[in-house]
């Protein structure tokens, strides 16, 4: 915890000291419709770059998919947005205002976050996990009950299971609870870091279908990280392919397949296709 807050403070210092590059005006000016905008964001660990200076816009109402091989920097990018990692330089804007250590806690309440293993707290029931933040903000359970029922219906989760602890739920059920927790406060942005990665194929397929339906019904702005091209194709309004800390190409799957920006893009797509066919 100390390590993290030290990073955040260093981040704050850099902003105050003007070390951070505000980014080219053109980028800032042209993409005001984006919900989130990363401008020249850079991160390295012990001198090894994890993310080269990167610009990225996340458009409202769309599902943006970050895809690429392990260690390509896609999770780093996502974790910078939620403030789990402080970038070495560059800025992240949320609805046009810059994310700083001072406002990150407020912004986190407007961002939902789902990770591979669900990230549910084992000592709390499914219900307590979902209501944790709402309770923290002083809302009563009675007040939140309609929203909870709505979420159960939306995620096809039986209300009878809400009293169970995470260890009493299956992997798929845990991910549905995690999704409900992320959606509880109606976040403007939903971040999903390999949310289906640990599930067996049947459960995975049914959750993919449900997720896509939910995103559509809620017109949810979402950023999904995956390494699976089929999943990216299924969800992605916009696909962002990354490799070795850089964005290699952005666009639709068709763009990537038909107009690859580099040999890596063709290789990545062909490798995934051959796996799928095998």
């Amino acid at each position: 915890m100390v390590g993290r807050s030290a990073l955040v403070w260093r981040f704050l210092f850099q902003i105050v000291a003007g070390v951070a590059d505000p980014g080219p005006e053109s980028v800032r000016g042209t993409k005001m419709s984006a919900l989130v905008q990363l401008i020249d964001v850079r991160k390295s660990y012990d001198g090894a770059p994890a993310l080269h200076p990167t610009n990225l816009s996340i458009e409202r109402g769309k599902t943006t998919v970050l895809i690429g091989p392990s260690g390509c920097g896609k999770s780093t990018l996502l974790r910078i947005i939620i403030g789990l990692i402080a970038p070495d330089s560059g800025t992240t804007d949320f609805e046009g205002s810059q994310i700083t250590p001072a406002n990150i806690d407020m912004l986190r309440r407007r961002i939902g976050y789902v990770i591979q293993e669900g990230g549910l707290f084992p000592h709390l029931t499914a219900r307590a996990n979902i209501l944790l933040m709402a309770r923290h903000l002083g809302k009563t359970d009675a007040e939140m009950h309609p929203r909870l029922s709505e979420l159960c219906e939306l995620t096809r989760f039986s209300e009878n299971l809400l009293a169970r602890y995470p260890l009493e739920l299956s992997g798929g059920q845990r991910q549905r609870v995690s999704l409900m927790r992320a959606l509880m406060l109606s976040p403007e942005l939903l971040l999903l870091d390999e949310p289906l990665g640990a599930l067996d194929p049947l459960v995975r397929a049914s959750l993919q279908k449900d997720l896509k339906e939910i995103f559509g019904r809620l017109k949810q702005t979402a950023l999904l990280v995956t390494h699976d091209l089929a999943e990216a194709t299924y969800f992605g309004d916009a696909i962002v392919l990354m490799n070795e800390g850089r964005i290699v190409q952005q666009g639709s799957v068709a763009d990537l397949r038909e107009r690859p920006a580099s040999d890596f893009v063709s290789e990545f797509i062909n490798a995934q296709r051959s796996v799928a066919l095998a």
Binding site: M1, V2, Y113, E117, G119, L124, T125, L132, L167
Partner: protein, 493 residues
């Protein structure tokens, strides 16, 4: 919220303390760790009680310096002492011979002294009668011819200014072997031939009992050891008056008889009552019943262990939280707690006694037990927190929970199993180690263990040892039950 159940951990030991309320200030009589001192202490207590003054007797608190410090520090109000010891050990002035001169010197310390009680309990060297006759030893000078004889004396006698070193110098003795041995154990060593010569007091009942001989102090080395009571000059006047009634009422023969009675019956109260010429029946009935004594020891034991545990929890958990963050501070905290743990408990008590705030008191025992209880709690809190998976820490942060909420509602409840097991370890250690508190007069179940060791009496030892062992088991079970209440259900699946 359910997650706040952790607060109740601290209520458990607090409860133990609350159930044992302390009495109004009685006059506190101390005594040294040998039979005669115990008996004199009991006589003083009974004398005060007969005069309508509430009094308690802290038996066998230690040696001269410990009792003297306790008197000066107002932890006790009076204790039996000997004029020779006062001059040699306390005032460190061998020129003080008259009672008047000693009394003047003591008054500077705010300490008063009664007139002699009537008997002279001087130091003496003793041997088995058969061994002495076989070697033709009658006087201490005769020892010069037998350097092969093994000398075993008490630790106090070894170090005293009127003890072994000056004695050996004066008599020009150079024995091949001199060891320090506990007074009571020394008699057994004398009997089985492990040692040949030991120190004793001239009114010691065992001299007659074991058929031993006192070697004549032919150059008059030992000073006079007239028994008196030392008391704090500020002690209540009626208590001083009551103690003074004992002056000149007890001669050597009478004292040996009382000592013999104490050692035969293992009951100091009963021996003290002989002084008041009670018949044996009423003497037994005025002694404190065993169930009362056991309740008193156990309650005191729980106070010591409970209060120190409470302190260890209140201090240890925050320290553990800091330690879990690693870095220099974290390592320093864990390092300190580990070092404290390696100090032998007896040494830790001895180190704390001379410090101003501590001295001979329950405070010292609690401080030592607190320091012992710290490490398991600090270490388990730190490791419990460190074992929380990174993904869960990040989930808590990403939700937007404030640091305090993360700690209280997520991290601490998730570490509760580890923290509670640390507290349980500390509790069991404290209940066990609290038996040592009796060494510095803090009472508890160590009291009968210590008396029993002093008398070489196994029954008395077991009166303390068995309840102490049972108490440790009960504490262990209570915490196992507490686990079910305090560890969130989701973690017990």
């Amino acid at each position: 919220m359910k997650t706040n159940k952790l607060y109740f951990v601290s209520c458990f030991p607090a409860f133990l303390i609350l159930i044992s309320s302390s009495l109004a200030n009685p006059v506190v009589i101390g005594s040294k760790k040998f039979t005669e001192s115990y008996v004199l202490g009991e006589i003083a207590k009974r004398t005060l009680n007969d005069a309508g003054i509430p009094a308690e007797h802290r038996q066998g608190m230690g040696g001269t310096i410990i009792l003297w410090q306790a008197l000066r520090g107002a932890q006790i109000d009076a204790y039996p002492e000997y004029t020779g010891t006062i001059a040699e050990e306390i005032l460190k002035d061998q020129q003080l011979h008259s009672a008047g001169a000693i009394r003047d010197a003591l008054s500077k310390f705010g300490v008063g002294m009664t007139e002699p009680l009537g008997f002279n309990n001087t130091y003496a060297l003793i041997m088995r009668r058969d061994r002495a006759q076989e070697l033709g030893i009658r006087t201490i000078t005769d020892l010069q011819k037998h350097p092969e004889l093994k000398i075993g004396v008490t630790h106090e006698f070894l170090a005293r200014q009127d003890g072994w070193q000056p004695l050996a110098a004066r008599y020009r003795l150079s024995p091949q072997s001199v060891i320090g041995i506990d007074h009571a154990l020394g008699y057994a060593a004398l009997q089985n031939g492990s040692i040949d010569v030991k120190d004793a007091y001239s009114t010691d009942a065992k001299i007659a009992e074991y058929d031993l001989v006192v070697l004549e102090d032919d150059v008059g080395f030992f000073p006079k050891y007239e028994a008196v009571f030392l008391f704090r000059a500020s002690m209540r006047k009626d208590a001083i008056a009551a103690l003074r009634k004992l002056e000149g009422t007890l001669d050597e023969a009478r004292m040996i008889q009382l000592n013999a009675e104490a050692e035969r019956t293992k009951n100091y109260t009963r021996a003290a009552n002989l002084y008041f010429r009670d018949d044996v029946e009423s003497a037994t009935s005025t002694g404190e019943p065993f169930s009362h004594k056991l309740a008193r020891w156990t309650l005191r034991h729980l106070q010591l262990a409970g209060f120190s545990l409470l302190l260890a929890i209140v201090v240890g958990i925050p320290l553990g939280i800091f330690a879990s963050r690693g870095g220099v501070v974290g390592h320093a905290i864990l390092g300190f707690a580990s070092i404290v743990q390696t100090i032998p408990s007896l040494a830790l008590l001895a180190l704390l006694v001379p410090l101003p705030f501590f001295g001979i008191s329950a405070r010292t025992a609690i401080a030592a037990l607190f320091l012992y209880g710290l490490l398991p709690i600090v270490r388990n809190t730190a490791s419990g927190l460190q074992d929380i998976p990174r993904s869960l820490r990040e989930s808590a942060i990403a939700l937007g929970l404030t640091p305090a909420t993360r700690l209280w509602q997520i991290y601490l409840p998730m570490s509760s199993r580890s923290i509670l097991s640390g507290i349980k370890t500390s509790a069991v250690i404290n209940v066990g180690t609290a038996t040592l508190a009796a060494l510095i007069g803090a009472g508890g179940l160590g009291e009968p263990i210590l008396s029993g060791l002093n008398l070489n009496d196994h029954v008395t030892i077991l009166q303390g040892a068995i309840p102490a062992a049972l108490l440790a088991l009960i504490v262990q079970w209570s915490f196992d039950l507490l686990d079910r209440v305090l560890i969130p259900k989701g973690l017990r699946l």
